[in-house]
Symmetry: C2
Subunit: 371 residues, 2 copies
């Protein structure tokens, strides 16, 4: 086990001058550690003070600051890690977290339990990009949702996940929905002759999500989906550590952390590194050109981060979604390559030939590009 | 029990024209409910579609949109409520949540279990404003922290809370810290002749925080502190429902939701209404003029919201903090009035006469202004 006494965190600071940037960086060192004026800091706690180890200009009125925090201030608690990283300074304007010492991340967090390789093995698809769709909309009955799952499976789709708004509504209670959809997917596989994985959404109270995770496994689901920013990132990590089923992470409620360029987290670090470290086997992100607002360069970097070599972390499947049109798959394949799980929802449902036909064409597009 | 079929949510939308605002509002209706193109929406799910019930200009290039969502889409799950409120649309620029139908909030969420009155009763302080300080810094031993708690208690302070960075570090493990501090506070009360309440910070993994909450109660703590944005808001709500001890909410990791005026939540609604509805008996917010960046008008409105009459919710104690100077208490008293819990940390530790003297003066300032 590697160990360090401090870990480095990188912040991008917006300021009007180098002096101001230095003042802000020095404030961060205090705010995120001892949180007490230096003239009142007792000698015995001085080792816990954050230390500014680098400050360089990195753009117009922007500086990159490296701050070293004591690992003892975290003491192995991933929730406290987030607090040290971005707790109080989330209330400062102009502070963006861009990175954390990966060796330290790897001692604190386990990363994906399954990763790209295990998912490819489960599907017997060694090389090509994967297809994914969302069961929707909310309001349908378990049988209606299962019928859709059946048609997608018959068309050979790789992964079907619940829409993130499906929880355990009266219209489709969790147990009935998962039971019906697992059955429908297994039935559909008889027609397609290939595997399709079904991932129900288990997002709910952190105090009961563990039971729902186990219920999903018991009912035969092949993985689960979680919205980690709704449940708390650490809840996803704690569940992933059970190594029960692969975990797909959905970005609901997370936009506030990544949308403002001067504040929050850089999207590539947040989704591509942090969510991976917190145990996401698959990471859904809002693709460029869809309903959301990330640009293509950002998305490419985010996609790369999910898969890059990073200490002992398994790679996560990057999963662009949020409004990809089914006719543009080859364009995005050229952009991201085969190590990507394409999530297309609405556009498949709009296919005039129905879900099965839509899935067949989606698969053909991916197979065509298999190297 | 009141019941509704839909609940109203208010969004402030930034757009360049009324037409664009309407387009965005109509997108929200879909995005936050059925999340499927309307031409692919099955008849049986149409009742779940959000409905735009109002759109009015409310400032330069800003519109206030009211959207009605089906209560069945939430089905009583507070996590799913947050998803409907601000899940995917957190990834849209220019969307700010400003309010939710309070009758509905009151059917879904219980609010504070104790509220202002119970805290006043515990302290036997019926009218004046209350004082609070933070035990700090991280790095001190349980005995060193307890010694500080003793001196503050001797000086008659009302509430002592842990610094939010104190979790269960090796330097001060939870059990030893709470045991030592409870003992120190009870001893200090013998000198002051009045009650002082001690609130340890229980923020940790949502999967184990329940046990830490019970441990705090078992060890004799008078309340607890939680950072709800780190644990998930619903975790705070689930714990508050146990009615075990009062809950103080700390804004760590929440800044991204409230700092940008065009995006996220309006701070007054987020802290003053939503956190109250999610069970916070006391709500710490970053005060104007301190280390953070809210202005005085915002803070006053936020303070008012915590205490306003709101259905059957008990009022929460608004607790301004984050850099209040001990010499400015009377100014903030004039601003907020007596129904406020003033949190002063660093400035008390800087008092040349030590913590006891600092607490005595803090109390005198509050008593002077008792009406």
């Amino acid at each position: 086990m590697k160990s360090r006494k401090t870990f480095r965190t990188d912040y991008r600071i917006s300021a009007s001058s180098a002096d101001e940037a230095k003042d802000i960086a020095e404030s961060l060192c205090i705010e995120q550690s001892v949180e007490i004026p230096l003239d009142a800091l007792p000698e015995s706690a001085a080792g816990f003070l954050g230390r500014l180890s680098g400050l360089e200009p990195c753009g117009e009125q922007q500086w990159e600051a490296a701050i070293d925090y004591s690992t003892e201030s975290v003491s192995g608690d991933p929730v406290q890690f987030l607090n040290v990283l971005y707790g109080n300074c989330s209330l400062y304007p102009g502070i963006c977290v861009t990175g954390v010492d990966s060796v330290y991340l790897n001692t604190l967090l386990q990363g994906p339990s399954f990763g790209i390789k295990a998912i490819r093995t489960a599907l017997s698809v060694p090389r090509r990009a994967l297809s994914c769709t969302a069961l929707k909309p909310i309001g349908l009955s378990p049988d209606e949702l299962a019928e859709r799952a059946f048609r997608f499976t018959k068309g050979g789709i790789d992964i079907i996940k619940d829409d993130h708004g499906l929880t355990s509504q009266a219209s489709a209670p969790f147990r009935q929905r998962v039971t019906a959809c697992v059955e429908a997917v297994r039935k559909g596989e008889q027609f397609s002759g290939k595997r399709t994985l079904y991932f129900p959404n288990i997002t709910t109270s952190a105090l009961t999500i563990g039971a729902r995770f186990e219920e999903a496994a018991e009912l035969g689901a092949d993985g689960v989906m979680i919205c980690p920013q709704l449940t708390g990132l650490e809840t996803m990590h704690a569940l992933a550590r059970k190594k029960l089923l692969p975990v797909m992470a959905h970005p609901s409620f997370s936009g506030a952390y990544v949308l403002h360029p001067d504040h929050g987290f850089s999207p590539a670090f947040y989704y591509g590194t942090l969510w991976r470290a917190f145990g996401a086997d698959m990471i859904i992100y809002p693709n460029a050109g869809g309903r959301f607002s990330f640009d293509a360069a950002f998305c490419k970097e985010l996609n790369r981060r999910c898969r890059e070599e990073l200490e002992d972390f398994k790679p996560s499947f990057p999963s662009p979604g949020g409004g990809i049109d089914r006719t543009t798959v080859s364009r995005w394949l050229a952009e991201y390559g085969n190590e990507t799980l394409f999530l297309i929802g609405g556009s498949l449902y709009q296919h005039p030939g129905g879900e099965e036909k839509a899935a067949i064409e989606f698969q053909q597009e991916l197979e065509k590009n298999e190297q």
